[in-house]
């Protein structure tokens, strides 16, 4: 079943997630404050790009958050991601919300508040340690 996914932040992580989801057949709306960042993406009929701040409810609404089934906060800033993801969950009632948090103490705190967080640094570290196992 194709899903409608909203991604905030079109850095390397956001852009590659958007590309992967499009590949799977999903519909993607991606937001970034800097239109320059959309250079990382190729145009596709199931991909919509919006210039705007993902912490603004008005911007999220105009990008169609009310019909999104999943939400990914993927900017490089923990604070922005935390606000965007918690808006998606609490204000817009989206069930599937993933939030990129780089600080390990903060990601533990957000997990305890019921938010699903992904720590890119932690993931890379774990994989590297695993790769170095004898």
């Amino acid at each position: 079943m194709p899903r409608r996914v909203m991604i905030v932040g079109c850095g390397r992580l956001g852009a590659s997630m958007a590309a992967a989801l499009i590949e799977r057949g999903d519909h993607v709306a991606i937001l970034d404050t800097d239109a320059e960042n959309f250079r990382r993406l190729r145009a596709h009929p199931r991909l919509k790009m919006y210039v705007g701040d993902g912490v603004s409810h008005e911007t999220l609404r105009s990008a169609g958050i009310e019909s999104a089934e999943a939400f990914i906060a993927a900017t490089g800033q923990d604070t922005t991601n935390a606000l965007a993801a918690q808006s998606a969950r609490a204000t817009f009632g989206i069930a599937h919300v993933v939030c990129r948090i780089n600080d390990p103490v903060r990601s533990e705190m957000y997990e305890s508040l019921g938010l699903t967080t992904v720590n890119a640094n932690r993931l890379v570290l774990d994989l590297a340690l695993k790769a170095m196992e004898p």
Binding site: T79, Q86, S87, T91, D103, R106, S112, L113
Partner: protein, 223 residues
């Protein structure tokens, strides 16, 4: 009290000065080195140049023993994070966030921020009062925002003018406390005064009933 202030912009700077002159203990955290240097020139060693949303920084500042944390930066995301880290990682008893985007006010309360100060709404409400001179509501949040004190002026032509307090139909969950008459006299609601035009009616209401209460007392929809 021990107060941590995050952000040494205009609000944080003058707030710190006021708190210090009222003999409170203050730590001021500012990320920008130029801004914090200016603050340190005035306040000395209580200024920390660092990111007030970082758990290690808040720990160093003593978030686990402070009475209140007030985050005053111009970024809503920063203020929310500082308050949530203080509250949930360090059990800070009260957190206060300055909020720029009024849409974030109910969200921040839901997310555990005890008090939100919306600069936009504050200025707007004062402007409306200045410009219209019409019936007006002041809100003082209590109980973490689940109830608030409101003051609503009954205009000429309001359906409540000429009625006594006990006869008023008010929304469920609201309590009429007192009536301030035009000459300045304060009448407790229990004395059952009759409402005259331009009386200010003091009530306690949950925020979701505020519009209904407004309509009941003024006869018109809230702007």
């Amino acid at each position: 009290m021990y107060v941590i202030v995050v952000g040494a912009g205009k609000i944080g700077f003058y707030l710190t000065r006021a708190l210090l002159s009222a003999s409170h203990e203050v730590t001021l955290i500012e990320r920008d080195a130029h801004i914090s240097a200016a603050a340190a020139e005035e306040f000395g060693s209580i200024v920390i140049t660092s990111d007030g949303t970082e758990p290690s920084v808040l720990e160093e500042a003593g978030a686990n023993r402070c009475d209140i944390l007030i985050s005053t930066s111009g970024r809503d995301a920063t203020n929310l994070t500082a308050c949530q880290v203080a509250k949930y990682s360090f059990n800070t008893p009260r957190t206060v966030a300055v909020v720029t985007d009024p849409d974030h006010v109910p969200l921040f309360r839901e997310l555990g921020v005890d008090v939100t100060i919306s600069t936009t709404e504050l200025i707007l409400s004062h402007l409306e009062e200045e410009l219209t001179g019409g019936p007006f509501v002041h809100v003082l949040p209590m109980q973490g925002g689940s109830k608030g004190i409101v003051v609503i002026r009954a205009p000429y032509g309001s359906p409540v003018v000429g009625q006594t307090v006990s006869r008023l139909k008010l929304p469920e969950g609201t309590l009429l406390v007192a009536v301030i008459q035009k000459n300045g006299d304060l009448q407790p609601a229990l004395a059952d005064p009759e409402i005259a035009p331009d009386d200010e009616i003091v009530a306690i209401t949950p925020p979701e009933k505020e519009d209904e209460l407004w309509r009941a007392l003024t006869g018109e929809a809230k702007r």
